[in-house]
Subunit: 300 residues, 2 copies
């Protein structure tokens, strides 16, 4: 399987749908246009669209029609983008660069960046509550997906993980706390992305449970690799300052285990993710398998 081709194709599909949901910003007056532009800027700042693609791939892995998952995929990217905007704020990570470009608050100011994030988060739920054109998903299942994604994105998931991370900054934390930050901050929304795709594709309970495990494991691998890249990467590869976690004395996997053992742990998590796909049609589940490997070997 040609994964780069697959990823490029799905990225284009997702970005096309994003454009439909969010055509070039035109407010009814200049100040409103500025707000829409700020949202648009970060949404189209060349992301990898990992969460949307995982949602589509999970839907397809259980034999579903990925087009039925497309607007859910867009909503996931809105949520991911809002979280990046807020995480980059001076009061949080205070990052000036993201994907090699100025962060939202650098361009639009802090107040507009906060509001761009708020707007994207709210828009995500509006999109999630809107039936797909020619959609077949029962409204009750759509509600379940909203609850699931809300749970993964909110105080029990992503937002909660970021809050723990912020609260723990500058303090020594133990490994269970690091694990919890990781699983909430990164893992929860990745798992919710896979689960949403599974639901839309009408997964059996067994498939759903397997895909949940898959999501948890690649979420873990994703964050471990992030930690490794932050230690090892160059600023050019990352599009942000390398070593910035260490500079802020944040706990990371390499800080606990060293680089080699950390790498092993990423491989083990990836293996467990791939094992979770054992009972699936090998052809349908191939993209998920390849994505797991890609996450583990990615260089940025």
């Amino acid at each position: 399987m040609d994964l780069p081709h697959y990823l490029a194709e799905k990225k284009a599909l997702v970005e096309g749908a994003m454009q439909n949901h969010f055509p070039h910003p035109k407010g009814d007056q200049p100040d409103h246009a500025l707000h829409l532009e700020a949202m648009h800027y970060s949404l189209f700042a060349d992301g990898k669209r990992v969460r949307p693609i995982l949602c589509l791939a999970a839907c397809a892995a259980v034999g579903g029609d990925e087009l039925q998952a497309l607007s859910t995929a867009v909503a996931l990217e809105c949520i991911h983008t809002y979280s990046l905007i807020h995480d980059d704020l001076p009061a949080m990570d205070n990052d000036d660069l993201r994907r090699g470009k100025p962060t939202n608050h650098v361009l639009y100011g802090e107040a507009q960046a906060i509001l761009a994030g708020d707007g994207l988060l709210t828009m995500a739920f509006e999109i999630l509550a809107t039936p797909e054109p020619a959609g077949t998903l029962p409204p009750a299942d759509r509600l379940k997906i909203i609850r699931q994604i809300g749970h993964g994105a909110g105080s029990m998931g992503m937002v909660g993980g970021q809050a723990i991370d912020v609260a723990a900054e500058g303090r020594e934390i133990d490994f269970p706390t690091l694990r919890q930050i990781h699983s909430r901050k990164t893992g929860a929304l990745i798992t919710a992305s896979v689960q949403a795709g599974a639901l839309i594709g009408c997964a059996t309970p067994t498939q759903y449970e397997a895909l949940t495990r898959y999501g948890n494991e690649i979420g873990l691998a994703f964050q471990i690799i992030d930690d490794l890249l932050n230690v090892e990467g160059t600023a050019e590869q990352l599009g942000k300052a390398a070593g910035s976690d260490a500079a802020r004395s944040k706990a990371t996997y390499p800080a606990f285990f060293g680089v080699e053992l950390t790498r092993t742990k990423a491989i083990e998590a990836t293996d467990r993710a791939i094992e979770a796909l054992d009972g699936f049609d090998p052809t349908l589940a191939l993209p998920l398998r390849e994505i797991a490997r890609y996450i583990q070997t990615r260089k940025k």
Copy 2:
């Protein structure tokens, strides 16, 4: 009708439901508990619960069972509370006091305040997507309410209004711009609250349209009175610094029309709101009528 009694009774009903959705914060570890506590603090900081009560009253006005609207009412208060937390931030209005108490960021720091807001907004949609216990609202209608509230709360509504307000600060704005800031920033969520209650109560299209007009007019009156109180009120009455809008040279109704004409405009909007209820059962619609008068005559 004894409005203070009615308001106190409904406030207690809403706050009871809020407690159920959000029992005293217990995180699984101290840093997580801090995050939940920050959300809890602002949510229970003695609000008037105007939006939830409007939602219940609109449901009852069309003959619906207000208990079917209770969790929607809670979600509306979560959204309102998040908006206050973010509006008070140093990058926005930079307010230290809210309802006579320290604002969220003063107590928990900016980063935690941003995340408390994000968590409350996300939780609102989780709650909206959860069927009421013994609820009878069809899932498709619940989705419609999510879209409606999302629209009122998001970039086309409340968030968009705040963004225009922030962008226009320190600059002369014309009256249409002020009108737009008001209708988006305050009006949109108030209207959505009434509309949600109407939908849950199975309003006819005519009733729905009339309640939408009612919502728009009381939203306008609410904001005009806010402007007036800001000019005239004492810090004690407002729980925040009086004259703070003028100090930040924000455009207000009194700045455009003077105090007397502004007061007339508030009365006119209230009259139009009450007229919109003409076709309703007078007993069922009495609370909405009284609330409109209350908004116009409130002293804080």
